[in-house]
């Protein structure tokens, strides 16, 4: 068990470090990295404009920047945001709970909706209902997250509901097919033929069989929710790390973007690892 945990920890660490350098390189070589909008202020003297430009000198060599960034990060210092002129650590600690609450609520909502409709679809087995639920989830899947966010802004509805719908649209079909497959298993067909109640079949026979794969999808949906949080927060004015990432990208804010890459990578990998471990546990139980 300890060896498995260590293996996962090393994998997460290596991925985070590689992801960080990749993000830093992309930002560093993005067009406009060298620019600063403030430099266009005609009230600034030449010396001040030069000072603004020199402020980026430490970020020009991406490898030197990344090395010093990692050393400082190891001591809990993630640098200062250029766009917001505040320590990155402060910004993240203020906003991470907001995003976690938003995607937490969204995920619970999305999973609940997906499970409700998936279970009802396989239990009811009424073709029009199946078509309707599939069409609705497909339609939501086709709508970009940003557009969905905008709809919720105009409707004055909570942003977590937008995240919930995005998660639902990604999860529903997969879960419905999974449950459908489980219902077709010989021992469940036999149980239905013997007249066991649908609820009993679902709780004691179908869900335990499908639990591992259902959880794996839960892990994937965490990264879906996190990705959706960026446009949704930016549009709905939710002060979370999604909004922060949006501002950082527009301002080519290197320290902030690398830190946010770390966070997103860690959260995604932890969610995937957790679902993997749970899945394995369920498979062992089944065996």
């Amino acid at each position: 068990m300890a060896r498995i945990a260590l293996r996962h920890f090393v994998r997460i660490l290596v991925t985070v470090v590689i992801g960080g350098i990749f993000a830093a390189t992309l930002v560093r070589y993005a067009p406009g990295f060298e620019s600063d909008e403030q430099a266009l202020d005609s009230r600034l003297s030449n010396e001040s404009v030069q000072a603004l430009r020199n402020a980026r000198a430490g970020e020009r060599d991406v490898f030197a920047f990344y090395k010093s960034f990692l050393v400082s990060a190891a001591h809990g210092d993630f640098g200062t945001s250029r766009t917001l002129n505040r320590p990155v650590r402060e910004l993240v600690s203020e906003r991470l709970p907001v995003t976690m609450r938003l995607i937490g609520t969204g995920l619970l909502l999305g999973w609940a909706l997906a499970l409700l409709f998936a279970v009802s679809a396989v239990m009811v087995r009424f073709a029009p209902y199946d078509v309707l639920t599939t069409a609705v989830s497909g339609l939501i899947l086709c709508v970009p997250s940003a557009v969905l966010g905008l709809i919720f802004v105009f409707a004055n509805a909570p942003a977590s509901l937008a995240i919930g719908l995005i998660v639902f649209s990604h999860v529903f079909r997969y879960w419905r097919n999974l449950l459908d497959k489980s219902y077709m298993m010989p021992h469940i067909v036999m149980a239905r033929a013997k007249g066991l109640s649908p609820a009993r079949i679902l709780v004691f026979h179908v869900l335990p069989v499908s639990a591992g794969q259902l959880l794996a999808v839960c892990g994937i949906s965490v990264s879906i929710a996190l990705g959706a949080a960026i446009p949704v927060e930016a549009l709905c004015g939710v002060p979370g790390i999604g909004q922060l990432a949006w501002q950082a990208a527009l301002g080519r804010d290197l320290s902030l973007l690398v830190t946010l890459t770390f966070i997103v990578t860690i959260v995604t990998l932890l969610a995937n690892t957790a679902s993997e471990i749970f899945g394995q546990a369920f498979r062992v139980q089944e065996a």
Partner: protein, 543 residues
Amino acid sequence: MKRALRLLSCAALVFVLVLSAFAQGGELRFCIKSDPKTFNPVAVADDASETVRYLTGGVLVRVNRQTQQLEPELATSWKITNAGKTITFTLRPNQYFSDGTPFTAEDVAFTVKQLTNPNLHSPTGDAFRSGTGDVTSKILSGNKISITFPGAIAGLDRLFDQVAIMSARSPKKERAVLGPFFLADHKPGSYLYFRKNNNYWKKDAQGRKLPLLDAVRLDIQPNREIEVMRFRRGEIDLINSLDSDFYAKLQQGSEAQVRDAGASLDSEQLWFNQVPGAPIADYKKAWFKSQNFRRAVALSINRADLVRIVFGGHAQAAIGPTSPANKFWFNTKLKALPYDTQLALNLLKQDGFQLQGGTLKDAQGRTVEFSIVTNSSSKPRERMATMIQQDLSRIGIKVNVVTLDFPSMIERITAKFNYEAAILGFINTEMDPNSQMTVWLSSGENHAWNPNQKSPATAWEAEMDKLMQAQTQSPDPKKRKAAWDRVQEIVYEQQPMIYLVNKNALSAVSSNLVNAAPVVLRPQTYWNIDRLYLKSDADRSGK
């Protein structure tokens, strides 16, 4: 009976007066685009911080945004001496910061010291840089202070409009303020909440203590579309600096809520890249350096169409570096360039350009073609570029429009110089030409067409350098005006910057907001924030 009636009418009058006194106040709400980068008033460099400073900062003198005249605030009087190097203020006695700390000359000295820190690098601080040497503050008495700068500073007194006095002794540091409001709460990324400063010194003509509002809430909202939607819903009370599209949308909903204050100080302009080392073809550089070529392009742009189509009539054809809205500094001798393609072709002929089969060719027979870069985040600029493309096709010039995101564009025009022509706007927060020194000096970083010149590349740029230096060192406003008038004339003759339009100052103001009188100077809608108030529910329902 008569006596009873009299008593009753007196009682009614008192009741009405009391009611009207209580009718003021309320919480004003509007949006800013981003979190303020700083709460330190001397380090302000972004719009959001500027807004916070305006709401909270107490200043010694204030430029009245309506009359454009300088008025006393925390200083009751001031005097400039020593050939423009020294300013002496007499301060308003018995004033207190929002936290109760007394306001003294020591605070002014402290603020000036912070302001003139050479490592500050802020637009406010840079305005006070003059020559080498230290700035000295001398406290003459409890309410009198003289500040001496190493060199003369033109328009020195007006610069103090931007200087919010900080407390030298308050434990709250920059959070202790002398302005009408103080920051009570801030949720980063979401909102800022300001409460009325009970120690604010000002009273209105009726003797009422200002500010009239109880609180101001600034919601952080980068998206203008959503801001407009919230205004329509009545969630916010005003919108500053609207563009013409949103103005038209709001106008359809409620004519009474939109305001057009006329031409602002801001300008939109086109210029050609004249940087000698720019990575563009030499023959193109030769075109762009030609005065006739630049003037021909300027004459071929139909500004009236730009005003009508792009800005829906809410702009004026621009004449030069100073907008006609800037009453003192605008050179009234200059008139808008005519739209005259024939005159443009005649000028081009003088440089050997020929119109062949609808295509303009240079003296060597090369087709005249160039690209204009502009930022994709500005629809009006994109549209202007497209219309200029159409206008120039009438004299045989082929234009390609390239839109870039703003950081990429800034990098191209300020660092890599990998562009041929650009359209961008200037936001002028100050009326004094001194605030444009880096634009007009050939050695300036913002001398857009050819920045950072070691020595002036042309005779007219050398003349502009001399004029700019002369006006900045002269304490005499008339001499300064004469020098700046000549600079405007040179720009008009040479067209290094082809001025297109001065956008109008458009805003939206809720009908519940009383005393709102939007003007062209920033901040257009809340320049008189201490006198604004919201109608009470009783007033709104017409009771």
